[in-house]
């Protein structure tokens, strides 16, 4: 089995993540830390899509649906409960429930490929259309008004079961980073379980998996549901980072962007989407601070160059380069050794050292 090497990498990444979690607030300025929360939220969202698309082959063009539902459910629940602890759970459950229902709807109808992409996209756009028009006092869930296009102010996180201790935005960073690390560990573990490996098998060949007796509809639905739950966590982190949730989370731009993060980072890896999201977030964010060139122009050009130069995405390209380098080094070492041996032999035989 080839898990060992990958797991070494993964463990290394987790350690790096933990170091970053504690070191970052000492290294970076306050606003950098606060703003990181949003980037981390996107990273978790990308991770969720990386899991279901990269490992399960489910091209979901509407992962932000669960992200947005998570954010909304958290906000509404936290306003009603007056605390965040149960609200987080509600957020995850709501998103997973919707994912399960949508998953049942599409996978048991054997919708796949671009058709699946369109259904998930459409579902997201429906949420977008509906949430935008919920301004007014008649749209409320419990104590929380939905707020329409302007969205709802999200109550900040508090310490578990202690609503008197509210976290400041700079402290939410810890929660966000911990959530990212935990989600990463969860995904890493999941893809190695029987469930994860069967999911990969389904991605590779649906018919074969079926003929082996696996109910691929169930596996896909289950994976989709897990992905929805992780996306909901991302949503909770996001609305804490931004302090607000608006229907924009469901718009076309954001949902397409999620796909772009995963492609940039590399499908079939878990760290790839995470890096893709963070990289593109900081790229667009730093583009916004310059006023020389149009942002779309620069970003578009970068993405086009990227797809031509790094076709497989960052992480797979890096791994390939690393492997090649190592293979090259070992083969070179071998060659040198061989050459030495040959020349020694030649010397011993009293012949002229011949290169060939």
């Amino acid at each position: 089995m080839t898990w060992n090497r990958e797991n070494k990498w993964r463990a290394g990444l987790v350690v790096l993540g933990v170091i970053f979690l504690f070191a970052a607030p000492n290294v970076f300025q306050l606003f950098t830390i606060i703003n990181m929360t949003t980037a981390i939220a996107f990273a978790i969202l990308a991770l969720s899509l990386g899991l279901i698309w990269g490992y399960g082959g489910i091209l979901c063009f509407g992962q932000t649906a669960f992200f947005g539902l998570g954010a909304y459910a958290y906000t509404v629940a936290a306003i009603n409960f007056g605390g965040s602890t149960w609200a987080i759970l509600v957020a995850i459950l709501v998103a997973m429930l919707v994912a399960a229902v949508l998953g049942y709807f599409v996978f048991y109808g054997r919708v796949s490929d671009v058709y699946l992409a369109v259904i998930t996209l459409t579902a997201t756009l429906i949420l977008y259309s509906l949430m935008r028009r919920t301004s007014g006092p008649e749209y409320k869930i419990g104590k929380s008004l939905l707020g329409g296009f302007n969205g709802i102010t999200s109550p900040p996180l508090n310490m578990p079961w202690d609503t008197s201790q509210v976290l400041f935005p700079e402290h939410v960073f810890y929660v966000a980073m911990a959530a990212l690390i935990l989600a990463y560990i969860l995904c890493s573990w999941l893809v190695q379980t029987q469930f994860g490996r069967v999911s990969v098998a389904i991605r590779e060949n649906e018919l074969r998996a079926e003929l082996l007796g696996y109910d691929i509809r169930f596996y896909k639905m289950a994976l989709f549901t897990v992905g929805g739950g992780i996306a909901a966590v991302a949503g909770v982190v996001f609305c804490n980072g931004v302090g607000r949730v608006t229907p924009d989370v469901f718009n076309l731009y954001n949902t397409a962007l999620t796909i772009i993060w995963v492609i940039v980072g590399g499908r079939g890896t878990l760290i790839g989407p995470v890096l893709g999201a963070i990289l593109l977030f900081y790229l667009t964010s730093s583009l916004g601070t310059q006023a020389v060139l149009n942002n779309n122009l620069v970003l578009g050009a970068i993405l086009i160059l990227f797809v031509l130069l790094v076709p497989k995405g960052i992480v797979p390209s890096f791994t390939e380069w690393w492997d090649n380098r190592r293979a090259l080094r070992t083969s070179r070492r071998k060659e040198v050794r061989m050459r030495r041996r040959r020349s020694r032999l030649a010397e011993a035989n009293g012949e002229a050292g011949d290169e060939r």
């Binding site: 992409a117 499908r267 779309n296 122009l297 578009g300 086009i304």
Partner: protein, 289 residues
């Protein structure tokens, strides 16, 4: 009765509108399995060609029927040569590439022309009277153009070598390659053709819509949903999905209001794809183009 006629005309126009904004995307997707996320920007470029050239004194019809398809078609060919052709067989990467292209085109147009460009054109033909109601004569004209354009695309696909590849690809994605014809050239022409049709559509809509660099975003989702709901067949798929979705949208928009109209279109698309997981033409009209 007048209302009924006027409304029926309106709904037919809604369908023609969907056909126009989707057809270019359908050609490129149907033949090359490339999902062109820059499709909305091709429409936008068509509109811009009309606005900019009429501002510089070019006749509206010349701008619309000749310049727009030509300019956008040419841009399509350039894009195919410089970008898309490196990505064949990598459908997912074309998502990224065309998304980048979409941003690039928006940025380019904004940089050159600014966030908005003044226009001098308005819809030709004026209104037509239907009893107590008036409809736009131009919309009637667009309905005819949509029909003729579909017919033209049908003939191209039926009678040319391009059409042969198209039919091959629609049956099986690998088949086009297996045909052994110079697929590279065919693909270039296809992409150019798709872009030209999109540019033409954008030009046609220019007199009755706002022409802005960012306007493409309002088209792409609807076009994408229409094309995929239609299934693999380029014309039959787009046409049947347009009729279904456009019809539902038009009726619901009139009965309940535009928001519910939009949502109804989306819900219809979801239900349709659940019942027909390969789109309308995955089940019906299989042998059609």
């Amino acid at each position: 009765m007048d209302l009924f006629v006027a409304l029926a005309l309106q709904i037919i126009y809604g369908i023609a509108n969907l056909v126009l904004i989707s057809l270019g995307l359908a050609i490129i997707f149907g033949m090359m399995r490339v999902i062109n996320l820059a499709h909305g920007e091709f429409l936008m470029l068509g509109g811009y060609t009309v606005v900019v050239s009429t501002n510089n004194g070019v006749n509206l019809w010349v701008a619309m029927f000749i310049l727009a398809p030509l300019v956008v078609g040419l841009i399509g060919v350039i894009v195919e040569r410089c970008l898309i052709r490196f990505l064949y067989g990598r459908m997912v990467d074309t998502l990224l590439a065309t998304w980048g292209l979409s941003l690039l085109l928006i940025g380019l147009v904004t940089t050159i022309f600014g966030a908005q460009t003044s226009t001098t054109i308005s819809a030709p033909f004026g209104p037509i009277q239907i009893g107590d109601y008036t409809s736009s004569g131009y919309e009637l004209f667009l309905i005819c153009v949509a029909v003729l354009l579909s017919l033209a695309v049908y003939l191209v696909l039926r009678l040319t070598k391009l059409g042969l590849v198209a039919r091959g690809t629609m049956q099986s994605a690998d088949m086009a390659a297996a045909l052994g014809v110079s697929t590279s050239k065919i693909y270039m022409i296809t992409f150019g053709l798709g872009a030209a049709v999109s540019g033409f559509a954008g030009a046609l809509l220019a007199p009755i819509t706002g022409v802005l660099p960012t306007i493409g975003a309002t088209y792409i989702a609807k076009a994408f949903i229409t094309v995929i709901s239609g299934g693999a067949a380029i014309l039959a798929g787009t046409a049947s999905a347009s009729v279904l979705l456009g019809g539902i949208n038009g009726i619901m928009a009139f009965v309940t209001g535009p928001t519910i109209g939009e949502v109804a279109l989306l819900v219809a698309a979801i239900i349709l794809l659940r019942l027909m997981p390969r789109g309308i033409t995955g089940r019906f009209f299989r042998k059609n183009l």
